[in-house]
Subunit: 404 residues, 2 copies
């Protein structure tokens, strides 16, 4: 249960530091010596709590976020924001307690806050995965011949290509993307390279659907190279499928220098084949593989597209439909990846889980199957012969031809 | 000197065969036993000579060509056509005598005809190369800063790309080709692959101009693979730079089966590095390398474009300007390659020599240099100081930056 006494707790925690004054604050065992708060941050936090007590959550949020921007690594600030959030969103609250502890592992308030909230969050995460598993079973049960399902899969193919290249700045809209895939005729005024990004995605998806989905054994780094060869092959046939040999910079993340890329990828390959990875839930594995890949950023370009495809390979091999990171979600997507870089990959995992659930819901809501399932269930109860043309093959999985 | 008695000679030769009748014809030592002429061919040849005697060369030509179509490998027919041609075109005449002998090496008339005409033809070929060498010296002398020369080189770059892809069926016109190279923006309605053919050529030409032109040592098969990687890289990044693994068919030529390609290319590589190849005139070497490459046809596609680029590498390294096989010349070009497949590569070599001479003439006629050369010559005679701003650097060659 969330702590009902959040505010006072926090204020005392916060004021402890303040009342001790700067010099004393340095000696406090609960507060890191190197991250003293400026008067402005302290004032902002006080104002934030004042707004919170008055019920002005919007203003309070704004002030807490401003305080974090001023002292982004200070455990007191992070812990205060967590306590403010806890009543409404225990997951977010626990995230900030964890963040506080990542900067100062002995922060007493953050420790007790996390101890209280972590089991709640873990239960929510388990419930989410269980809910998704139930939906996957329903998705499994969809008859592959359902026209609505076939239409949705085809549509999802074009949508995937559209969104994944749009995230990287491609200016083709969905209709143009579809036209380029279908007839490979150029759209006047668009750059040739924008066309080639789409064609590369088409080739990579075909490869995945015909080869990787049914591959015996575990997916590995060689499969990633094969995906990248196709994704990037038409943009730059010389770089495609090869590790970069220059440094790259992605916002505030600096991936390993080129000399370390091969070793990091070998490490990643070992992890993919490890018992640790194999014991993860497929959604966790998919999200973590995506994150690790873009963290290493092994290619000069096309890392995001390749990571999203590889993630979908893992999901599809586990019986999930391929998911789409939509272009309008890209800032959240980047934020979750950035939080993973800061040490907590769970927000990104939840984002991937939520996107998977959203995709499953779409398939289950817009295909005609729920009605058929109910019809069949009714028949079973009546001991009717279920081997009719509306029979659902429970064994049939969408693997291998779930796109295109 | 051409034989002035061509017709009667021929007629007697032709009639010898005819008067002996079919069974006797088989026993004649001068006529191959397996290629008896039908009455229709004999009648056609008689009519052809009749037209020739009447001065109707057009009709005679038509009839001879028809006879050859009916009996394309018969030495009598080929020898007759050669004799008909000899008065007007000794090179063509000697070609047909040689063709006759390639099918029956003991054909007496063809032997004596060839003995008479070969030295004439060899002299013409030598004269052509000497004339081209003189023009190359003038081309060498062009000052690299001449604005007309710079314009022509740039224009020639776009022309080369346009013609070389147009020969293979690309439907972009020169303006479109230029636009795609300059800004890489797509032309609406054209296929994406047509754009990628142009981009591949642009990449290959850049590679040649920056790397192969100045490469130390001889050109080899590795250079050809590097050219093909670029020419075909954007069309099919998986096949680019790799030997084909399927059989291909080019009109009536069947290149070696895929299993033999690597060995044939090694043989070709050895030839490129042989003293035999190094002793050839650069134009002969360039033409022969082109022919040998398309004969092996090592790639699934892009062989012609690669061969034309490799030929130009050889020419440019020898101080010639790059030449353009124009799309409207493609049927002659194919015909000469086909004649080379039939055993006589000289028509193709002459075609390449003529194209080189045409290109040199263009540079020499349309740059402003002839006037400058004459000015300088006049100055030298007057013992003027030639180190002025119109000095021609005789040492400067167009290598390395003669395009783009």
């Amino acid at each position: 249960m969330p702590n009902k006494d959040g505010i006072s707790h926090c204020m005392s925690g916060f004021l402890q530091g303040k009342h001790q004054g700067k010099s004393q604050l340095n000696k406090s065992p609960a507060i890191p010596a190197t991250t003293n708060l400026t008067k402005e941050v302290i004032y902002t936090l006080k104002q934030a709590w004042r707004s919170a007590r008055k019920g002005d959550k919007k203003k309070a949020t704004k002030l807490f976020v401003y305080a974090i921007r001023m002292a982004p690594r200070h455990p007191d600030v992070l812990n205060n924001y967590g306590e403010f959030l806890e009543h409404e969103d225990v997951i977010q609250a626990e995230y900030y307690y964890t963040a506080a502890l990542s900067h100062y592992p002995y922060h007493q308030l953050a420790l007790s806050n996390r101890k209280r909230t972590l089991p709640l969050v873990q239960q929510i995460d388990r419930d989410r995965l269980a809910r998704i598993a139930a939906k996957r079973s329903k998705f499994y049960a969809l008859p592959l011949t359902d026209p609505a399902l076939i239409r949705m899969k085809r549509e999802s193919y074009y949508q995937h290509v559209y969104h994944t290249v749009a995230i990287e700045g491609n200016t083709m809209n969905l209709q143009m993307t579809r036209a380029v895939i279908e007839n490979r005729i150029a759209i006047g005024g668009k750059s040739v390279m924008e066309h080639n990004e789409i064609i590369g995605m088409d080739e990579a998806l075909s490869y995945i659907n015909t080869t990787l989905i049914n591959k015996a054994g575990l997916l590995d780094v060689q499969d990633i190279l094969q995906i990248h060869r196709r994704v990037y092959g038409f943009s730059d046939p010389f770089e495609a499928g090869n590790y970069r040999n220059s440094q790259v910079y992605i916002a505030d993340h600096v991936p390993p220098p080129p000399g370390q890329v091969a070793a990091k990828m070998t490490e990643f390959d070992n992890w993919l084949k490890s018992s640790e990875a194999r014991q993860l839930h497929p959604i966790e594995l998919a999200a973590l593989a995506h994150y690790k890949l873009v963290h290493i950023h092994p290619f000069v370009d096309g890392n995001g597209r390749t990571a999203r495809l590889f993630m979908n390979c893992i999901l599809m091999r586990a019986g999930f439909p391929p998911i789409i990171i939509r272009v309008h979600d890209r800032f959240h997507y980047y934020q979750y990846l950035s939080q993973a870089n800061d040490g907590d990959v769970r927000p990104f995992m939840r984002f991937i889980a939520d996107t998977t659930e959203f995709t499953l819901d779409e398939y289950l809501n817009y295909t005609s199957v729920p009605a058929i399932i109910e019809l069949n269930n009714a028949r079973r109860k009546k001991n009717d012969d279920v081997n009719t043309d509306v029979t659902i093959s429970k064994e049939s999985t969408p693997k291998g031809d779930d796109k295109k």
